[in-house]
Amino acid sequence: MQSEEWKFTAKDIAEKPDLFMSGHRACAGCAPAAVMRLILKATRGPTIVTMATGCMEVVSTIYPYTSWAVPWLHTAFENAAANASGIEAAIKVLRKKGRIKDEHVDVIAIAGDGGTYDIGIQALSGAVERGHDFLFVLYDNEAYMNTGIQRSGGTPLGASTTTSPAGEVIPGKLEPKKPIADIMVAHEIPYVATASPYYWRDLIIKVRKGLEVEGPAFLHVFAPCPRGWRSDPSKSIELSRLAVETCVFPLWECINGEYQLSAPSKVIAMAPQKKKPVKEYLAVQGRFRHLFTPKYEKLIDEIQRITDMRWQKLLKKCGIA
């Protein structure tokens, strides 16, 4: 990894043309689309993007047109990471044979939470174990939104989805969210980080760090979905801020096994009175509406307990608590 921190101003990224173009068919207020734009602002040269099936693939590539102004490959739901390792290996061979000039080509694999948490984890685990030099971006909208809001491994406890509907029998999803970024840290890869689009500067720097590092990198990006979360389209970015401020989704990075909190979460670690209760985050989302009825009220305390437990665990890993 380059020791020098990459510095940029808002003007620098403004001068870069948009590589994810307008006129795609994402819903109004789609935070993942904003995430895609920001990711492509961080590229440093020739880049190939490969993408698993998911919302962002469906909305941006309507044959014979595409919204991506970079070489882009679609692949099946389960093998975005396998595809990325193939691309990286092919570039290596072509360079060895002298078919392409000796310049660095970055490979980014992008998948949603379904394509990472559930269906894609075997390909991802294999690709990072083989040590291919690529960046895997998980944009986490916490359910299979594109096929009709089915629960995934990334859906949080208590969220109502079409396959875990809240009602008389169950209070939404019964299991908490799978800690995917910690699973990736356990693979002992050089770079793992979490990011949120509200903190756009932090997100862009983390994407660039993931590209610069030699070997596999994993980036977990929080991406609110107004359709599936039944929230106001204008609140998507605000939700990505609330998730960080309530510590539901803390921001950290792990470089070669060393955990460290990123600035927005560090502020909360240093001044615990700034930590907001999870109630504030839950109240603005329709998928948690049932938690505010007398029958399921207790679940809010349970969500708070799990959030606090995970936050304390993270602080310990960062050597703060």
């Binding site: 808002a10 948009d18 904003a34 734009r37 941006s60 047109y65 595409t66 204008s234």
Partner: protein, 93 residues
């Protein structure tokens, strides 16, 4: 099998063309129309950064301009604007 050496020898492959408006003019989806009050705008460019549709462009002096052909009217710009310089108005008004 003969390995193709030039582009002409390659078999026909469908490729998608990168273009603005791959889904047509998405501005027709809009119910609420964002209107910028330039007297309040501080040119912080946050609206431009957060717009999921890349429908906000920057003029030479950094002030934002909304591209109504592609703006879907989600209201993220109005919600995130720190000085509340963007108002959402109904389309028919």
């Amino acid at each position: 099998m003969k390995i193709p050496k030039t582009l002409k020898e390659m078999p026909l492959t469908p490729l998608s063309l990168p273009t603005i408006g791959s889904m047509g003019k998405t501005g027709t989806w809009r119910t609420f129309r964002p209107i910028i009050d330039y007297s309040k705008c501080t040119k912080c460019t946050l609206c431009w950064i957060y717009c999921p549709d890349a429908a906000i462009t920057r003029r030479d002096d950094d002030s934002p301009e909304i591209d109504y052909e592609y703006c879907k009217g989600c209201g993220i710009c109005a919600n995130e604007c720190p000085v509340k310089a963007i108002a959402m108005k109904r389309e028919e008004e």
